[in-house]
């Protein structure tokens, strides 16, 4: 009870702080600042001009990943990842449904969190974006040639996949850590017996450098804390991975209070290279598991699901000298490593100060065995032996996440005091601060979590907008705010709304991606089993109750466009190939009464939807994407006869079997 009162007291103080300070600062900075600094000019990208950077912003509870341009803040695309997207047919078409398969069956929704771009030599390289799903633990890989999800792998023995999906310096591994400790292996047991019996698996997924394919190389079965965020070491610390923990109390109820009792939780420091070597030499134990691995094939234009039945487990005690705990101020969220790899920053979200650890001190402490006991056999390094310092109390309240520029500065978001604070990493002094509107979670500097920050812009991602935009009823957008950080002072340039909740983001210079962006899929490379390469190949085939329509689309007609012989009770497969080989000429298709979404078919691609007609009649289908001047005419009919009718299958285009006349 006492603690509840304490919490309420703290909340009141905090609220007072926000109410008394923030509004007065808001006027000064958001209005005058923008005009005085000529912000409009800095974000203006003239019609036809291109932005200088891509920003990949998490769609949060939308389950997707959004693609914005910087500095304009224009939304280019929402990439469907963990949720169905009827606009694109993702998760509806027969080919994409396997992408959303899990060991729990088909799941139409996910909670996407932390996009991270693949790296080479510690710099973002623009090959892939990885992003984690928190709810049903999964990691997705998105191609930056097609801007489509190419792979999703489920993470077994995990729950609340939150300290994920960060990549090592040469994209050797992407990690997936457990936020909600769970029994391992899962079993029926009293919740109250959690302590000591739950585990928190940290998974290391090896990335194939050619294909990008992910494979769970090993899972470290850590004590049952909550592993919140993570960051790979950089440069000199690149053999290590760091994970923040909270709920080291191992409580299981009223956790806002009970998980907030310890003054210090830990950052887990893991020498992943050492464990990878151990595993490569036959270490670890293979145990039964059941998890889905979904891979998209750009030639077959379809995804396949493989259920994997085994995973390799490493117990921390098997690899002595590989895992340590670094005491870190209260329930740290962000776990960030500066570009040199020396400073490891734990943002104690319930503390007023930030803990900065030193990598070289850590190595020395390990050599000197400067330990302060252990937790479940994992040595706890003495705080003084590893700590470099703290950013002074008063820097802000509720630090969450830090990224870096190339000039020795760190930029940290403070959720409770709603601000971004710039501070010098070496002397730990605050250099500048700027309010944000409101309650900022994460921030992003393109390359700001790599060795080589591309540090002109900073994007702050806010959880609450209240009065910042025109109201849209009770549900209002969350938003991003763009800062120019090239000068001594941060300058607020722009507000722009985001989709879902912008948990986290990754940014990259446009030139690293734009030129290799795919324009079309080559028809000649299409190996989809139901593809057609020309109108002459289009046809309708009955196989019992299943009717397969091999259909093509090209400006501005379907082939065939008159189909007869379909009966009530049939299952009709529309396998539709877009024969176009021109940039930006997708066609869509929708069938009246089909219990699914439309399809949007890119040039050269084959996609399938199914229709089970329930009523006799003549039913139209049409192109849903305005493709050409004759788009309105791009339509056709299917005749549906009664069950048992003897109308034969027939299919025509302009009165003939397709392919009789010239076609493309």
């Amino acid at each position: 009870m006492k603690t509840i009162f304490k919490s309420i007291f703290l909340f009141l103080i905090t609220t007072t702080f926000i109410v008394s300070c923030a509004p007065s600062e808001k006027k000064g900075n958001s209005n005058k600042g923008a005009i005085a600094g000529n912000a409009a000019e800095k974000v203006y990208v003239a019609p036809g001009e291109h932005d200088s950077h891509y920003a990949f912003i998490s769609g949060g509870f939308s389950g997707q990943l959004s693609v914005y341009g910087l500095p304009s803040g224009r939304l280019f695309r929402v990439i469907p990842v963990f949720s169905q997207d009827p606009e694109k047919g993702y998760g509806y078409s027969e080919e994409t449904k396997p992408m959303l398969m899990t060991s729990h069956g088909f799941i139409p929704w996910g909670d996407s969190h932390h996009p991270d771009i693949s790296q080479t030599n510690g710099s973002v390289d623009g090959r892939w974006v990885f992003i984690n799903e928190n709810n049903t633990p999964r990691i997705a890989r998105i191609s930056l040639e097609t801007f489509e999800t190419e792979e999703i792998i489920e993470i077994p023995n995990s729950a609340g996949n939150h300290s994920s999906s960060y990549v090592t310096e040469n994209s050797e591994y992407v990690v997936a850590g457990t936020r909600f400790a769970i029994p391992y292996p899962q079993k029926d047991m009293p919740i109250s017996e959690m302590k000591g019996n739950f585990k928190g698996a940290l998974s290391f997924l090896k990335i194939d450098q050619e294909t990008g394919h992910m494979n769970i190389d090993f899972q470290i079965m850590m004590p049952g804390f909550n592993y919140d965020k993570a960051h790979p070491g950089r440069n000199k610390s690149s053999d290590w991975f760091f994970f923040t923990t909270y709920n080291t109390e191992e409580s299981h109820t009223l956790m806002e209070v009970n998980a907030s009792q310890n003054d210090k939780d830990y950052i887990a420091a893991i020498n992943w290279k050492k464990i990878a070597e151990y595993v490569a030499n036959g270490g670890g134990k293979k145990v039964p598991a059941n998890y889905a691995h979904n891979i998209w094939d750009d030639d077959k234009h379809m995804a396949t699901t493989t259920m994997k039945k085994e995973v390799l487990i490493v117990e921390p005690k098997e690899v002595p000298g590989a895992i340590y705990f670094l005491p870190t101020a209260k329930s740290p969220h962000g776990c960030d490593v500066d570009p040199t790899g020396e400073y490891i920053i734990g943002s104690g979200k319930l503390a007023a100060s930030m803990t900065i650890h030193s990598f070289s001190k850590m190595i020395k402490a390990i050599e000197d065995k400067a330990f302060d006991g252990d937790a479940y056999g994992i040595p706890i390094i003495k705080y003084e032996a590893v700590n470099y310092g703290a950013v002074a109390p008063g820097a802000g309240l509720g630090p969450l996440h830090t990224e870096f520029d190339s000039r020795g500065n760190a930029y940290t978001t403070f959720f409770i005091s709603s601000e971004v604070v710039k501070w010098n990493i070496k002397d730990l002094k605050v250099v500048d601060r700027h309010p944000v509107y409101y309650s900022v979670g994460h921030l992003m500097i393109p390359g700001g979590n790599s060795r080589t920050p591309d540090d002109k812009y900073l994007v702050a991602m806010n959880k609450i907008t209240k009065d910042r935009y025109l109201p849209t009823g009770p549900e209002v957008c969350q938003s991003a705010q763009l800062f120019d950080i090239s000068g001594d002072k941060m300058e607020l340039l722009l507000d722009f709304p985001t989709i879902g909740e912008p948990h986290y983001a990754a940014g990259i210079a446009a030139e690293k991606i734009a030129s290799k962006s795919k324009k079309i899929f080559r028809l000649a490379d299409n190996t989809h089993p139901y593809a057609v390469k020309s109108e002459a190949e289009t046809r309708v085939v009955r196989e019992g109750k299943n009717v397969h329509i091999y259909m093509s689309m090209i400006r501005s007609h379907f082939s065939p466009d008159n189909i007869e012989g379909v009966k009530v009770g049939d299952k009709v497969y529309f396998h539709v190939t877009n024969l176009e080989q021109d940039y930006d000429v997708p066609h869509g298709i929708a069938m009246i009464g089909a219990n699914t979404s439309e399809l949007l078919v890119m040039p050269g691609r084959t996609t399938t939807f199914t229709w089970e007609p329930k009523q006799v009649g003549v039913w139209p289908f049409y192109c849903t994407d305005f493709c050409s001047a004759l788009h309105q005419e791009m339509q056709g009919y299917v005749r549906v006869s009664a069950k048992g009718s003897n109308v034969p299958i027939s299919y025509t285009l302009d009165g003939d079997i397709p392919g009789k006349e010239d076609d493309l």
Binding site: I520, I554, R555, E580, Q581, D582, Y583, A629, L630, D662, L664
Partner: protein, 203 residues
């Protein structure tokens, strides 16, 4: 070897550039084609300027009832033979070195070139005027006649929403340069002959 002979031989040899480089190019520009559509015409084939351009030109043109650009035309059999023979012939004449023959070769080549251009014009005319009666969009000229879509023989021309450009390409420049050299070879040869007569008179 005499300068005129060298010029004649090299000039004729340059014709062979037509086997490597395209002769002509037709490019179609429109606002929605920031990268224009284009077709290269070689002496033995049509090729895309960018991959799939011909397919996309055909798609555009079907709206106004134009025929598809054929995979091949009879000229693609004839042109390589003619160019091959003319080149070898030119080089032989060069070795023999009679400057009047140089002029003869040049005139023959010019006639063949003009014939080629006329043939090209006829194909273009048919391509632009022989329209499908079931064309989706039919356009008429102010005088009521059916509008044709013939690309220009040389130069640029607005056709509906497209601007069509028709210009010689590298292969043609090789040919023009080669032909110019053979003409120069004739002039030089003539001068050389005069010089020789003068020299003979002096001695």
């Amino acid at each position: 070897m005499k300068k005129s002979k060298i010029l004649m031989i090299i000039g004729s040899f340059l014709l062979l550039g037509l086997f490597v480089f395209p002769l002509w190019n037709i490019t179609l520009e429109a606002p929605q084609y920031p990268i224009p559509l284009g077709m290269n015409i070689h002496i033995n084939k049509f090729t895309d300027m960018n991959e799939f351009d011909i397919k996309n030109i055909n798609l555009m043109n079907h709206y106004v009832g134009m025929q598809y650009i054929p995979e091949t035309i009879p000229e693609f059999k004839i042109f390589p033979v003619v160019i091959g023979i003319m080149s070898i012939l030119g080089m032989l004449i060069g070795f023999i070195g009679k400057h009047k023959w140089f002029l003869g070769w040049f005139i023959l080549m010019s006639v063949l070139g003009i014939a080629g251009m006329y043939d090209f014009y006829l194909w273009e005319y048919d391509y632009g005027h022989n329209l499908d009666p079931k064309a989706i969009m039919k356009f008429t000229n102010p005088d009521g006649s059916i509008m044709g879509f013939q690309p220009p023989l040389l130069g640029s021309k607005d056709i509906l929403n497209f601007t069509a450009h028709s210009y010689p390409m590298t292969g043609a420049w090789f040919m023009f340069t080669g032909m110019l050299m053979t003409f120069i070879a004739f002039l030089v040869g003539k001068k050389e002959a005069k010089q020789r007569i003068n020299d003979e008179e002096r001695t």
